[in-house]
């Protein structure tokens, strides 16, 4: 995919083993330049692919936390929820082991397989990302509560108390077609084809081992002013994510997003819980709503994103403010007021979607693929319960899909996705 480094090396068809041979197996632990073909590294008798730091628009795979959470939000997402078909713990473990080097390659902007030598079988990589760079691709893996219900994996005792289906919320109209799943793969990139390619190839490599339950593509557009990324707007034109914790702040992230030691099952330390909601937004009704009513619905001004009665997007909401007559300035039924009424924070990482037309009504099937990361799904539940039946926004939206996933901690070099879960068994 990357025309510079990866391409040249791929064309030479070096397998990882050949590379090791060429550079001398004796030099154990020495990186073959942290540069070439994702740098093949040998440590503790294991060779593995490494992040290629020379690649442009590259998000790092290895680290304390998985990518795609604190990563600056990209323009595109392809989100897939999978059902596991394998029947044993070992096969499940093998699945994540198999995916690990593929994810490294994809995030390096490489093809998942070496060049083909046999024209009589299909290429390993589906190929549509060839010629494109890494496009800041991040791949995030998580597992759902249903995986722990499958007795054959013997994972029951490893199920975190926090990982359970979300409760029913008022006005939920959940469709099984967009609900649940054993495994999720969240692929985000600044190029829609790169994001789709990542999921497509990971699922294909796992043919017969997983099947797709549901998936959703989404998009985001991030305005840039003076080189500074602004908060993206949802399809109702309001800014989404203003109140997010600051992803570069370790303190903020540790308080809100990353599971700390002792807060959940040990294998989840440095991981995070993902809540996914497919929320249909009724664009037709929204578009015939007066501006003032729109702003009272969100509790913010549309253009500036500022709390009602204020000028700047990032000014404090101060929901207690009242006007001369003693009425709340930010309406008590507004989305922001209700969300702010509870002491809970989440990291929103939402994407808009547009998936054709609703069969039954002829209206747009468009809305928000709401994704939020938090150290405990209860943080989301608290906020959603506060919105409850009162939220004025309810009139314009319908929650159609719902899922919750435990996203593993980051992967260490030489390890594989979810190792902590399997190792403790």
């Amino acid at each position: 995919m990357t025309e510079t480094k990866g391409e040249k090396i791929l064309d030479k068809k070096f397998s990882r083993r050949q590379m090791l041979k060429m550079t001398g197996l004796g030099a154990a632990g020495v990186a073959i330049g942290a540069t070439g073909l994702g740098g093949v590294i040998k440590t503790f008798g294991m060779d593995f692919l490494d992040d290629d730091s020379t690649v442009t628009n590259k998000v790092t795979f290895y680290g304390k936390h998985q990518s795609g959470i604190a990563t600056d939000v990209q323009k595109n997402i392809y989100f897939a929820s999978l059902i596991v078909l394998v029947k044993s713990k070992q096969e499940l473990q093998e699945l994540f082991k198999m995916w690990t080097p593929l994810a490294v390659r994809l995030m390096n902007g490489e093809m998942i397989g070496d060049s083909m030598t046999n024209g009589m079988i299909p290429p390993k990589d589906t190929g549509e990302a060839k010629g494109l760079d890494a496009a800041n691709l991040s791949i995030t893996f998580g597992i759902g509560p249903s995986l722990f219900e499958k007795k054959e994996f013997g994972l029951t005792s490893k199920k975190p108390a926090q990982l359970k289906d979300l409760p029913h919320f008022p006005k939920d109209q959940l469709d099984d077609t967009y609900t649940g799943g054993d495994i999720c793969i969240q692929a985000c990139a600044d190029d829609p084809q790169v994001a789709f390619h990542a999921v497509r190839n990971l699922v294909r490599a796992a043919s017969g081992k997983v099947s797709l339950k549901w998936s959703q593509a989404g998009f985001n557009s991030v305005p840039v002013v003076n080189n500074k990324k602004q908060t993206p707007r949802n399809l109702f034109a309001f800014k989404d994510g203003t109140e997010n914790p600051i992803t570069s702040s370790q303190k903020d992230m540790n308080e809100v997003v990353w599971v700390q030691s002792g807060e959940s099952k040990n294998w989840m330390t440095d991981g995070s819980y993902l809540v996914a909601r497919r929320i249909q937004m009724h664009l037709e009704t929204w578009d015939r709503t007066a501006l003032k009513e729109q702003e009272n619905t969100f509790g913010r001004h549309r253009d500036s994103g500022a709390p009602i009665g204020k000028k700047d997007e990032f000014e404090a909401m101060d929901i207690d403010r009242k006007d001369d007559k003693g009425n709340f300035v930010v309406p008590e039924t507004s989305h922001a007021f209700l969300a702010k009424s509870v002491d809970a924070r989440i990291l929103r990482r939402a994407f808009s979607y547009s998936s054709g037309i609703m069969d039954s009504t002829g209206s747009y099937d468009a809305g928000l693929l709401f994704l939020s990361f938090q150290k405990n799904p209860d943080q989301f539940t608290k906020i959603q319960n506060s919105l409850g039946r009162i939220d004025k926004l309810n009139e314009y939206i319908t929650h159609r899909g719902s899922a919750v996933f435990a996203c593993f901690p980051g992967i260490q070099k030489g390890s594989y996705i979810g190792e902590a879960l399997f190792k403790t068994l």
């Binding site: 060049s115 024209g119 009589m120 294909r204 099947s211």
Partner: protein
């Protein structure tokens, strides 16, 4: 072209099948120059397998002609029920050996075209012949009247097909792409109920396509086993999974109507076929 020379070496002794896809050649062209030399020594002899497959195809075509004759007699004697009974099972012989039948670009549509296929080419009912035309008569018009000529033509075409099968140059490539094509047929038209749009006997075709692919696998199994035992095992399992699923819809005389399948049923069948298709597409490793 370079790739042609590669194939010629790989498929030593066998002539490239008629209708060999030229775009395939283009896509492999770049890689082939270096490969031809490396693979020359490893090209394996598949003559016995090729012969076995040809024998199978000829046998299927024999039975297809015999059954078609019975079908045509029933149609011409106005026995609608009898014709309806023979229709799905006679077609299975054709569907099993479709990789061969398909190599005759003129005969295949005369025997097996659906109205939708013709309409795509801007043609109408008046140009429609073959099994599906009579299917329309039996299940929609509820008559055989006016279909006698079509029936005669069908029998003549079947016989011609049977005769011409002898001339087909069967190659390993035809077998391997044929097996995957059979599954693709299932995935794109049988599982959607579009093949037998009037009779809804799609599951018969489904089963026959799977059997056709299974036959090719069985013939090549030893060679695959020798090269990659895991692949052979995986394929055996995946064929079984599809067949076990299909068995759920068996009746005393055949298969339930497509219309009785729920969305969940078709989804499960389609997924099982996809899970079989991926490893099936790897059979080409024996040519490495």
């Amino acid at each position: 072209m370079k790739s042609k020379s590669l194939l010629a070496i790989l498929l030593a002794g066998s002539v490239i099948v008629t209708g060999c896809n030229s775009s395939d050649d283009e896509s492999t062209e770049k890689k082939s120059s270096t490969l031809a030399t490396t693979n020359e020594t490893t090209a394996i002899d598949l003559q016995a397998e090729v012969d076995a497959y040809k024998e199978f195809a000829i046998d299927q075509m024999d039975q297809f002609t015999t059954e078609t004759e019975k079908f045509v007699v029933a149609v011409k004697s106005g026995d609608i029920e009898k014709a309806k009974g023979i229709y799905p099972t006679a077609r299975m012989f054709f569907e099993r050996s479709e990789p061969i039948a398909e190599s005759f670009g003129d005969l295949d549509p005369r025997i097996d075209a659906r109205l939708a296929d013709l309409e795509e080419e801007g043609q109408g009912k008046e140009n429609w012949t073959g099994y599906h035309k009579i299917e329309y008569g039996l299940w929609v018009d509820n008559t055989t009247k006016g279909y006698e000529k079509i029936a005669d033509q069908l029998l003549a075409d079947s016989k011609e097909l049977r005769a011409r099968v002898e001339t087909v140059e069967v190659t390993p490539k035809l077998m391997m792409t044929g097996a995957v094509d059979l599954l693709n047929e299932v995935s794109t038209s049988k599982i959607t109920g579009e093949e037998e749009i009037f009779s809804h006997t799609d599951l018969y075709d489904f089963k026959a396509n799977i059997e056709g692919a299974d036959k090719i696998f069985t013939i090549l199994e030893d060679k695959i086993e020798a090269k990659d035992p895991e692949l052979a095992k995986n394929l055996t399992e995946k064929f079984k999974a599809v067949n076990d699923l299909l068995a759920k819809y068996e009746t005393k005389n055949g298969y339930v109507s497509y219309t009785e399948l729920t969305k969940e049923d078709t989804k499960a069948l389609a997924e099982a076929v996809n899970h079989l298709g991926e490893p099936l597409s790897q059979m080409g490793i024996i040519l490495e």
